[in-house]
Symmetry: C2
Protein backbone atom coordinates (compact mmCIF):
# COMPACT_ATOMS: atom_id res chain seq x y z
CA UNK A 1 0.00 0.00 0.00
CA UNK A 2 0.94 3.63 -0.22
CA UNK A 3 0.14 6.91 1.38
CA UNK A 4 0.70 10.13 -0.56
CA UNK A 5 -0.73 13.55 0.00
CA UNK A 6 -0.51 17.08 -1.31
CA UNK A 7 -1.53 20.26 0.47
CA UNK A 8 -2.29 23.58 -1.15
CA UNK A 9 -2.06 26.64 1.05
CA UNK A 10 -1.93 30.34 0.21
CA UNK A 11 1.88 30.36 0.03
CA UNK A 12 2.42 27.26 -2.03
CA UNK A 13 2.28 23.51 -2.12
CA UNK A 14 3.52 20.62 -0.01
CA UNK A 15 3.84 17.05 -1.26
CA UNK A 16 4.45 14.01 0.91
CA UNK A 17 4.88 10.32 0.19
CA UNK A 18 5.94 7.11 1.84
CA UNK A 19 8.17 4.58 0.07
CA UNK A 20 6.90 1.14 0.93
CA UNK A 21 5.83 -1.09 -1.89
CA UNK A 22 4.62 -4.62 -1.58
CA UNK A 23 3.21 -7.44 -3.57
CA UNK A 24 2.10 -9.55 -0.66
CA UNK A 25 3.68 -9.39 2.76
CA UNK A 26 6.70 -11.37 1.59
CA UNK A 27 7.66 -8.87 -0.98
CA UNK A 28 8.11 -5.57 0.82
CA UNK A 29 10.49 -3.20 -0.85
CA UNK A 30 11.39 0.46 -1.09
CA UNK A 31 10.34 2.55 -4.07
CA UNK A 32 10.12 6.30 -4.22
CA UNK A 33 6.63 7.41 -5.18
CA UNK A 34 7.50 11.04 -5.74
CA UNK A 35 8.67 12.25 -9.16
CA UNK A 36 9.45 15.76 -10.30
CA UNK A 37 9.57 17.32 -13.76
CA UNK A 38 9.89 20.76 -15.27
CA UNK A 39 12.19 23.52 -16.41
CA UNK A 40 13.62 25.74 -13.71
CA UNK A 41 12.15 29.22 -13.84
CA UNK A 42 9.40 28.17 -16.25
CA UNK A 43 7.43 25.26 -14.84
CA UNK A 44 7.63 22.66 -12.10
CA UNK A 45 5.53 19.56 -11.59
CA UNK A 46 5.41 16.78 -9.01
CA UNK A 47 3.71 13.42 -9.49
CA UNK A 48 2.90 11.10 -6.58
CA UNK A 49 1.87 7.58 -7.46
CA UNK A 50 -0.24 4.93 -5.76
CA UNK A 51 -1.44 1.56 -6.97
CA UNK A 52 -0.01 -1.09 -9.25
CA UNK A 53 3.75 -0.54 -9.49
CA UNK A 54 3.98 -1.73 -13.10
CA UNK A 55 1.34 0.81 -14.09
CA UNK A 56 2.83 3.71 -12.14
CA UNK A 57 6.36 3.01 -13.40
CA UNK A 58 5.10 2.83 -16.98
CA UNK A 59 3.26 6.13 -16.60
CA UNK A 60 6.29 7.90 -15.12
CA UNK A 61 8.54 6.56 -17.84
CA UNK A 62 6.07 7.57 -20.55
CA UNK A 63 6.04 11.11 -19.12
CA UNK A 64 9.85 11.17 -19.49
CA UNK A 65 9.78 9.66 -22.97
CA UNK A 66 7.21 12.22 -24.15
CA UNK A 67 9.35 15.06 -22.81
CA UNK A 68 12.51 13.70 -24.45
CA UNK A 69 10.79 13.11 -27.79
CA UNK A 70 9.01 16.46 -27.55
CA UNK A 71 5.67 14.74 -28.13
CA UNK A 72 2.64 16.84 -29.12
CA UNK A 73 1.50 16.68 -25.50
CA UNK A 74 4.22 16.60 -22.89
CA UNK A 75 4.86 18.26 -19.54
CA UNK A 76 7.26 20.79 -21.07
CA UNK A 77 4.64 21.84 -23.60
CA UNK A 78 1.27 21.78 -21.80
CA UNK A 79 -0.36 25.17 -21.37
CA UNK A 80 -2.00 24.49 -18.05
CA UNK A 81 -1.83 22.15 -15.08
CA UNK A 82 -5.35 21.00 -16.02
CA UNK A 83 -4.10 19.92 -19.44
CA UNK A 84 -1.24 18.12 -17.71
CA UNK A 85 -3.61 16.30 -15.34
CA UNK A 86 -5.74 15.21 -18.28
CA UNK A 87 -2.62 13.99 -20.09
CA UNK A 88 -1.44 11.91 -17.10
CA UNK A 89 -4.94 10.50 -16.63
CA UNK A 90 -4.87 9.42 -20.27
CA UNK A 91 -1.46 7.76 -19.92
CA UNK A 92 -2.63 5.91 -16.82
CA UNK A 93 -5.81 4.67 -18.41
CA UNK A 94 -4.01 3.55 -21.58
CA UNK A 95 -1.46 1.67 -19.53
CA UNK A 96 -4.09 -0.07 -17.43
CA UNK A 97 -6.12 -1.09 -20.49
CA UNK A 98 -3.11 -2.43 -22.31
CA UNK A 99 -2.25 -4.95 -19.64
CA UNK A 100 -5.77 -5.74 -18.63
CA UNK A 101 -6.52 -7.11 -22.08
CA UNK A 102 -3.19 -8.91 -22.21
CA UNK A 103 -3.78 -10.82 -18.98
CA UNK A 104 -3.00 -14.39 -19.99
CA UNK A 105 -4.75 -16.10 -17.13
CA UNK A 106 -8.14 -14.46 -17.39
CA UNK A 107 -8.00 -14.09 -13.63
CA UNK A 108 -9.28 -10.99 -11.95
CA UNK A 109 -6.36 -8.63 -11.96
CA UNK A 110 -6.14 -5.11 -10.59
CA UNK A 111 -3.52 -2.96 -12.19
CA UNK A 112 -5.23 0.33 -11.41
CA UNK A 113 -3.33 3.36 -10.19
CA UNK A 114 -4.05 6.79 -8.77
CA UNK A 115 -1.89 9.87 -8.93
CA UNK A 116 -1.54 13.21 -7.27
CA UNK A 117 -0.25 15.79 -9.69
CA UNK A 118 0.63 19.38 -8.93
CA UNK A 119 2.88 22.26 -9.66
CA UNK A 120 2.99 25.64 -11.31
CA UNK A 121 3.51 27.09 -14.77
CA UNK A 122 4.98 30.62 -14.86
CA UNK A 123 2.22 33.23 -14.89
CA UNK A 124 -0.36 30.78 -13.61
CA UNK A 125 -1.47 29.66 -10.19
CA UNK A 126 -0.06 26.60 -8.41
CA UNK A 127 -2.56 23.74 -8.36
CA UNK A 128 -2.88 20.17 -7.20
CA UNK A 129 -5.03 17.39 -8.66
CA UNK A 130 -6.06 13.88 -7.72
CA UNK A 131 -6.16 11.66 -10.82
CA UNK A 132 -8.43 8.63 -10.45
CA UNK A 133 -7.76 5.21 -12.01
CA UNK A 134 -10.42 6.06 -14.61
CA UNK A 135 -8.31 8.99 -15.78
CA UNK A 136 -10.64 11.73 -14.55
CA UNK A 137 -9.49 14.10 -11.85
CA UNK A 138 -10.39 16.65 -9.21
CA UNK A 139 -8.53 19.74 -8.03
CA UNK A 140 -8.02 20.83 -4.44
CA UNK A 141 -10.05 23.90 -3.55
CA UNK A 142 -10.06 26.43 -0.74
CA UNK A 143 -12.66 24.31 1.06
CA UNK A 144 -10.65 21.11 0.65
CA UNK A 145 -7.03 22.24 0.63
CA UNK A 146 -5.49 18.78 0.54
CA UNK A 147 -5.65 15.59 -1.52
CA UNK A 148 -4.71 12.04 -0.56
CA UNK A 149 -4.19 8.74 -2.37
CA UNK A 150 -3.63 5.24 -1.03
CA UNK A 151 -4.09 4.40 2.63
CA UNK A 152 -5.60 7.76 3.47
CA UNK A 153 -8.05 7.39 6.34
CA UNK A 154 -5.70 7.04 9.30
CA UNK A 155 -3.95 10.30 8.46
CA UNK A 156 -7.03 12.31 7.57
CA UNK A 157 -8.22 13.47 11.02
CA UNK A 158 -5.07 15.51 11.72
CA UNK A 159 -5.27 17.19 8.30
CA UNK A 160 -8.92 18.04 8.91
CA UNK A 161 -8.00 19.66 12.21
CA UNK A 162 -4.86 21.57 11.26
CA UNK A 163 -4.83 22.54 7.59
CA UNK A 164 -6.50 25.69 6.35
CA UNK A 165 -5.75 27.99 3.46
CA UNK A 166 -3.70 30.15 5.84
CA UNK A 167 -1.43 27.41 7.23
CA UNK A 168 2.23 28.27 6.62
CA UNK A 169 4.22 26.10 4.22
CA UNK A 170 6.50 24.61 6.86
CA UNK A 171 3.56 24.03 9.19
CA UNK A 172 1.79 22.23 6.35
CA UNK A 173 4.91 20.13 5.79
CA UNK A 174 4.96 19.20 9.48
CA UNK A 175 1.25 18.34 9.32
CA UNK A 176 1.98 16.08 6.36
CA UNK A 177 4.64 14.33 8.43
CA UNK A 178 2.30 13.87 11.41
CA UNK A 179 -0.40 12.56 9.07
CA UNK A 180 2.18 10.14 7.65
CA UNK A 181 3.21 9.11 11.17
CA UNK A 182 -0.40 8.33 12.18
CA UNK A 183 -0.73 6.20 9.07
CA UNK A 184 2.49 4.29 9.70
CA UNK A 185 1.45 3.73 13.32
CA UNK A 186 -1.77 1.99 12.28
CA UNK A 187 -0.82 0.36 8.99
CA UNK A 188 2.28 -1.74 8.40
CA UNK A 189 2.12 -1.41 4.61
CA UNK A 190 3.01 2.31 4.74
CA UNK A 191 6.60 3.01 5.69
CA UNK A 192 9.72 5.15 5.40
CA UNK A 193 11.66 6.71 3.78
CA UNK A 194 9.25 9.64 3.92
CA UNK A 195 9.69 12.24 1.23
CA UNK A 196 8.53 15.83 1.66
CA UNK A 197 8.64 18.47 -1.03
CA UNK A 198 7.96 22.10 -0.15
CA UNK A 199 7.14 24.49 -2.96
CA UNK A 200 6.82 28.23 -2.35
CA UNK A 201 4.50 29.88 -4.86
CA UNK A 202 6.27 31.58 -7.78
CA UNK A 203 9.61 29.97 -7.01
CA UNK A 204 9.41 27.75 -10.13
CA UNK A 205 12.10 25.51 -8.76
CA UNK A 206 11.98 22.39 -6.58
CA UNK A 207 14.93 22.87 -4.28
CA UNK A 208 13.31 21.83 -1.01
CA UNK A 209 12.99 18.07 -1.29
CA UNK A 210 13.61 16.21 1.97
CA UNK A 211 14.01 12.49 2.51
CA UNK A 212 13.56 11.09 6.01
CA UNK A 213 14.89 7.58 6.44
CA UNK A 214 13.60 5.26 9.12
CA UNK A 215 16.50 6.15 11.41
CA UNK A 216 16.29 9.89 10.78
CA UNK A 217 16.60 11.49 14.25
CA UNK A 218 13.86 14.03 13.61
CA UNK A 219 11.43 11.42 12.29
CA UNK A 220 12.10 9.25 15.35
CA UNK A 221 11.66 12.22 17.68
CA UNK A 222 8.44 13.26 15.94
CA UNK A 223 7.04 9.75 16.24
CA UNK A 224 7.64 9.56 19.97
CA UNK A 225 6.76 13.21 20.65
CA UNK A 226 3.43 12.98 18.82
CA UNK A 227 2.58 9.75 20.59
CA UNK A 228 3.42 11.37 23.93
CA UNK A 229 1.44 14.50 23.14
CA UNK A 230 -1.66 12.58 22.08
CA UNK A 231 -1.47 10.67 25.36
CA UNK A 232 -1.08 13.93 27.29
CA UNK A 233 -3.95 15.52 25.35
CA UNK A 234 -6.10 12.53 26.20
CA UNK A 235 -5.10 12.63 29.86
CA UNK A 236 -6.07 16.32 30.03
CA UNK A 237 -9.60 15.82 28.69
CA UNK A 238 -12.32 16.55 31.19
CA UNK A 239 -13.57 13.17 32.40
CA UNK A 240 -17.21 12.36 31.91
CA UNK A 241 -18.93 11.89 35.20
CA UNK A 242 -20.29 8.42 34.51
CA UNK A 243 -21.56 8.01 38.08
CA UNK A 244 -23.54 11.22 38.03
CA UNK A 245 -24.97 10.36 34.62
CA UNK A 246 -26.12 7.03 36.04
CA UNK A 247 -27.69 8.71 39.04
CA UNK A 248 -29.52 11.12 36.75
CA UNK A 249 -30.69 8.31 34.51
CA UNK A 250 -31.98 6.42 37.52
CA UNK A 251 -33.68 9.33 39.21
CA UNK A 252 -34.27 11.88 36.48
CA UNK B 1 -21.98 3.61 7.14
CA UNK B 2 -21.39 2.69 10.74
CA UNK B 3 -18.68 2.73 13.31
CA UNK B 4 -18.83 0.29 16.23
CA UNK B 5 -16.09 -0.86 18.53
CA UNK B 6 -15.52 -2.99 21.59
CA UNK B 7 -12.60 -2.85 23.98
CA UNK B 8 -11.51 -5.57 26.35
CA UNK B 9 -9.39 -4.55 29.31
CA UNK B 10 -8.46 -6.34 32.48
CA UNK B 11 -11.47 -5.00 34.39
CA UNK B 12 -14.13 -5.62 31.79
CA UNK B 13 -15.56 -4.58 28.47
CA UNK B 14 -16.59 -1.37 26.74
CA UNK B 15 -18.87 -1.22 23.71
CA UNK B 16 -19.46 1.85 21.56
CA UNK B 17 -21.61 2.53 18.52
CA UNK B 18 -22.86 5.38 16.39
CA UNK B 19 -26.46 5.51 15.16
CA UNK B 20 -26.39 6.81 11.62
CA UNK B 21 -27.86 4.63 8.95
CA UNK B 22 -28.16 5.51 5.30
CA UNK B 23 -29.19 4.09 2.02
CA UNK B 24 -27.71 6.82 -0.13
CA UNK B 25 -27.18 10.35 1.07
CA UNK B 26 -30.88 11.17 0.76
CA UNK B 27 -31.88 8.55 3.20
CA UNK B 28 -30.04 9.27 6.40
CA UNK B 29 -31.76 8.06 9.50
CA UNK B 30 -31.15 7.07 13.09
CA UNK B 31 -30.99 3.44 14.14
CA UNK B 32 -29.44 2.07 17.25
CA UNK B 33 -26.77 -0.50 16.41
CA UNK B 34 -26.30 -1.77 19.95
CA UNK B 35 -28.43 -4.62 21.30
CA UNK B 36 -28.23 -6.37 24.62
CA UNK B 37 -29.42 -9.78 25.74
CA UNK B 38 -29.06 -12.02 28.76
CA UNK B 39 -30.32 -12.95 32.20
CA UNK B 40 -29.22 -10.74 35.05
CA UNK B 41 -26.78 -12.52 37.33
CA UNK B 42 -26.27 -15.35 34.85
CA UNK B 43 -25.18 -14.04 31.48
CA UNK B 44 -25.01 -10.79 29.55
CA UNK B 45 -24.34 -10.24 25.87
CA UNK B 46 -24.06 -7.20 23.62
CA UNK B 47 -24.31 -7.25 19.85
CA UNK B 48 -23.13 -4.35 17.67
CA UNK B 49 -24.16 -4.42 14.02
CA UNK B 50 -22.73 -2.97 10.82
CA UNK B 51 -23.75 -3.46 7.22
CA UNK B 52 -27.01 -4.04 5.45
CA UNK B 53 -29.81 -2.92 7.75
CA UNK B 54 -32.27 -5.57 6.55
CA UNK B 55 -29.72 -8.27 7.36
CA UNK B 56 -28.77 -6.88 10.76
CA UNK B 57 -32.40 -6.35 11.81
CA UNK B 58 -33.28 -9.88 10.72
CA UNK B 59 -30.36 -11.31 12.71
CA UNK B 60 -31.27 -9.37 15.85
CA UNK B 61 -34.88 -10.39 15.59
CA UNK B 62 -33.93 -14.05 15.02
CA UNK B 63 -31.81 -13.91 18.19
CA UNK B 64 -34.91 -12.72 20.07
CA UNK B 65 -37.19 -15.30 18.45
CA UNK B 66 -34.77 -18.12 19.29
CA UNK B 67 -34.64 -16.99 22.94
CA UNK B 68 -38.42 -16.72 23.18
CA UNK B 69 -39.00 -20.09 21.55
CA UNK B 70 -36.21 -21.66 23.59
CA UNK B 71 -34.59 -22.95 20.41
CA UNK B 72 -31.92 -25.67 20.66
CA UNK B 73 -29.28 -22.96 20.26
CA UNK B 74 -30.12 -19.58 21.74
CA UNK B 75 -28.30 -16.94 23.76
CA UNK B 76 -29.92 -18.09 27.01
CA UNK B 77 -28.74 -21.66 26.42
CA UNK B 78 -25.27 -21.43 24.86
CA UNK B 79 -22.47 -22.74 27.01
CA UNK B 80 -19.80 -20.32 25.91
CA UNK B 81 -19.38 -16.98 24.19
CA UNK B 82 -17.58 -18.83 21.40
CA UNK B 83 -20.67 -20.96 20.80
CA UNK B 84 -22.73 -17.76 20.79
CA UNK B 85 -20.42 -16.10 18.24
CA UNK B 86 -20.67 -19.17 16.02
CA UNK B 87 -24.46 -19.10 16.33
CA UNK B 88 -24.71 -15.41 15.35
CA UNK B 89 -22.31 -15.97 12.45
CA UNK B 90 -24.61 -18.74 11.27
CA UNK B 91 -27.72 -16.56 11.53
CA UNK B 92 -26.01 -13.78 9.61
CA UNK B 93 -24.81 -16.04 6.83
CA UNK B 94 -28.22 -17.72 6.49
CA UNK B 95 -29.92 -14.34 6.28
CA UNK B 96 -27.52 -13.04 3.65
CA UNK B 97 -27.88 -16.19 1.53
CA UNK B 98 -31.66 -16.15 1.71
CA UNK B 99 -31.98 -12.73 0.17
CA UNK B 100 -29.06 -13.04 -2.17
CA UNK B 101 -30.74 -15.87 -4.01
CA UNK B 102 -34.11 -14.09 -3.93
CA UNK B 103 -32.80 -10.93 -5.61
CA UNK B 104 -35.30 -10.40 -8.41
CA UNK B 105 -33.18 -8.09 -10.51
CA UNK B 106 -30.05 -10.20 -10.80
CA UNK B 107 -28.14 -7.01 -10.11
CA UNK B 108 -25.08 -7.02 -7.92
CA UNK B 109 -26.43 -6.60 -4.43
CA UNK B 110 -24.53 -6.41 -1.19
CA UNK B 111 -26.49 -7.41 1.87
CA UNK B 112 -23.49 -8.41 3.92
CA UNK B 113 -23.17 -7.55 7.58
CA UNK B 114 -20.54 -7.68 10.32
CA UNK B 115 -21.08 -7.90 14.04
CA UNK B 116 -19.22 -7.35 17.25
CA UNK B 117 -20.39 -9.72 19.91
CA UNK B 118 -19.30 -9.83 23.52
CA UNK B 119 -20.26 -10.45 27.07
CA UNK B 120 -19.85 -12.87 29.90
CA UNK B 121 -21.40 -16.09 31.13
CA UNK B 122 -21.21 -16.68 34.92
CA UNK B 123 -18.07 -18.61 35.82
CA UNK B 124 -16.39 -17.79 32.52
CA UNK B 125 -14.26 -14.92 31.29
CA UNK B 126 -15.66 -11.89 29.48
CA UNK B 127 -14.83 -11.95 25.78
CA UNK B 128 -15.42 -9.97 22.61
CA UNK B 129 -15.57 -11.24 19.02
CA UNK B 130 -15.69 -9.75 15.56
CA UNK B 131 -18.02 -11.79 13.33
CA UNK B 132 -17.28 -11.44 9.63
CA UNK B 133 -19.92 -11.46 6.86
CA UNK B 134 -18.81 -15.02 6.05
CA UNK B 135 -19.87 -16.10 9.55
CA UNK B 136 -16.38 -16.83 10.86
CA UNK B 137 -15.01 -14.77 13.71
CA UNK B 138 -11.99 -13.63 15.69
CA UNK B 139 -11.63 -12.82 19.39
CA UNK B 140 -9.80 -9.86 20.89
CA UNK B 141 -6.59 -10.84 22.60
CA UNK B 142 -4.19 -9.20 25.02
CA UNK B 143 -2.11 -8.03 22.07
CA UNK B 144 -5.10 -6.59 20.24
CA UNK B 145 -7.48 -5.53 23.00
CA UNK B 146 -10.08 -3.91 20.74
CA UNK B 147 -12.24 -4.77 17.74
CA UNK B 148 -13.89 -2.46 15.21
CA UNK B 149 -16.49 -2.79 12.47
CA UNK B 150 -17.63 -0.35 9.81
CA UNK B 151 -15.77 2.89 9.16
CA UNK B 152 -12.87 1.99 11.39
CA UNK B 153 -9.69 3.60 10.11
CA UNK B 154 -10.19 7.20 11.22
CA UNK B 155 -10.67 6.16 14.82
CA UNK B 156 -7.93 3.53 14.96
CA UNK B 157 -4.85 5.71 15.66
CA UNK B 158 -6.13 6.92 19.04
CA UNK B 159 -7.01 3.38 20.11
CA UNK B 160 -3.55 2.18 19.10
CA UNK B 161 -1.98 4.90 21.23
CA UNK B 162 -4.12 4.73 24.36
CA UNK B 163 -5.60 1.28 24.91
CA UNK B 164 -3.68 -1.43 26.72
CA UNK B 165 -4.81 -4.35 28.84
CA UNK B 166 -4.37 -2.14 31.91
CA UNK B 167 -6.49 0.81 30.77
CA UNK B 168 -9.29 1.47 33.27
CA UNK B 169 -12.88 0.86 32.20
CA UNK B 170 -13.93 4.52 32.25
CA UNK B 171 -10.72 5.53 30.49
CA UNK B 172 -11.46 2.92 27.83
CA UNK B 173 -14.98 4.33 27.49
CA UNK B 174 -13.56 7.82 27.02
CA UNK B 175 -11.09 6.49 24.42
CA UNK B 176 -14.02 4.92 22.59
CA UNK B 177 -15.74 8.31 22.55
CA UNK B 178 -12.63 10.08 21.25
CA UNK B 179 -12.23 7.40 18.58
CA UNK B 180 -15.88 7.95 17.65
CA UNK B 181 -15.34 11.72 17.56
CA UNK B 182 -12.35 11.39 15.19
CA UNK B 183 -14.47 9.24 12.91
CA UNK B 184 -17.40 11.65 12.90
CA UNK B 185 -15.04 14.56 12.21
CA UNK B 186 -13.73 12.91 9.04
CA UNK B 187 -16.74 10.94 7.81
CA UNK B 188 -20.25 12.30 7.47
CA UNK B 189 -21.88 8.88 7.38
CA UNK B 190 -21.05 8.19 11.03
CA UNK B 191 -23.09 10.23 13.50
CA UNK B 192 -24.80 10.56 16.86
CA UNK B 193 -26.48 9.47 19.05
CA UNK B 194 -23.40 7.70 20.39
CA UNK B 195 -24.06 4.74 22.64
CA UNK B 196 -21.53 3.56 25.21
CA UNK B 197 -21.92 0.46 27.33
CA UNK B 198 -19.52 -0.17 30.21
CA UNK B 199 -19.34 -3.66 31.63
CA UNK B 200 -17.33 -4.42 34.79
CA UNK B 201 -16.13 -8.02 34.87
CA UNK B 202 -18.29 -10.37 36.99
CA UNK B 203 -21.13 -7.86 37.30
CA UNK B 204 -23.40 -9.96 35.02
CA UNK B 205 -25.67 -7.00 34.51
CA UNK B 206 -25.72 -4.21 31.91
CA UNK B 207 -26.68 -1.19 33.97
CA UNK B 208 -24.20 1.29 32.55
CA UNK B 209 -25.56 2.08 29.12
CA UNK B 210 -25.16 5.73 28.08
CA UNK B 211 -26.66 7.50 25.10
CA UNK B 212 -25.12 10.77 23.96
CA UNK B 213 -27.32 12.75 21.62
CA UNK B 214 -25.91 15.27 19.17
CA UNK B 215 -26.66 18.13 21.57
CA UNK B 216 -25.33 16.35 24.66
CA UNK B 217 -23.22 18.96 26.49
CA UNK B 218 -20.42 16.53 27.28
CA UNK B 219 -20.23 15.24 23.71
CA UNK B 220 -20.08 18.82 22.43
CA UNK B 221 -17.42 19.75 24.96
CA UNK B 222 -15.38 16.64 24.14
CA UNK B 223 -15.53 17.42 20.43
CA UNK B 224 -14.22 20.94 20.87
CA UNK B 225 -11.78 20.05 23.66
CA UNK B 226 -10.17 17.22 21.66
CA UNK B 227 -9.92 19.42 18.59
CA UNK B 228 -8.29 22.14 20.68
CA UNK B 229 -5.90 19.70 22.36
CA UNK B 230 -4.79 18.15 19.07
CA UNK B 231 -4.07 21.65 17.78
CA UNK B 232 -2.12 22.46 20.95
CA UNK B 233 -0.24 19.16 20.75
CA UNK B 234 0.66 19.98 17.17
CA UNK B 235 1.75 23.51 18.07
CA UNK B 236 4.02 22.12 20.77
CA UNK B 237 5.90 19.73 18.47
CA UNK B 238 9.54 20.59 17.97
CA UNK B 239 9.77 22.19 14.54
CA UNK B 240 12.01 20.57 11.99
CA UNK B 241 14.78 22.91 10.98
CA UNK B 242 14.10 22.86 7.25
CA UNK B 243 16.68 25.58 6.57
CA UNK B 244 19.47 23.74 8.34
CA UNK B 245 18.55 20.49 6.60
CA UNK B 246 18.83 22.30 3.28
CA UNK B 247 22.17 23.78 4.19
CA UNK B 248 23.41 20.32 5.18
CA UNK B 249 22.10 18.78 1.97
CA UNK B 250 23.83 21.48 -0.04
CA UNK B 251 27.14 21.37 1.77
CA UNK B 252 27.31 18.01 3.47
Amino acid sequence: MTYCLAIKVRNGLVFGSDSRSHAGMDHLSVYSKMFTFGIEGQRVFAVLASGNLATTQAVISQIEVDINRNAATNLHAVESTTEAAEYIGGLSLAQQKKHRSDAPTGEKFDNSASFIFGGQIAGRKPRIFLIYPEGNFIAATTGTPYLQIGEMKYGKPVLDRIITQETGLEEAALTAMVSMDSTMRSNATVGPPIEVLIYAKERLKFDRHFIFNEDNPYLMELKSAWDQKIKEAFSELTRFNWQRAEAQANHG
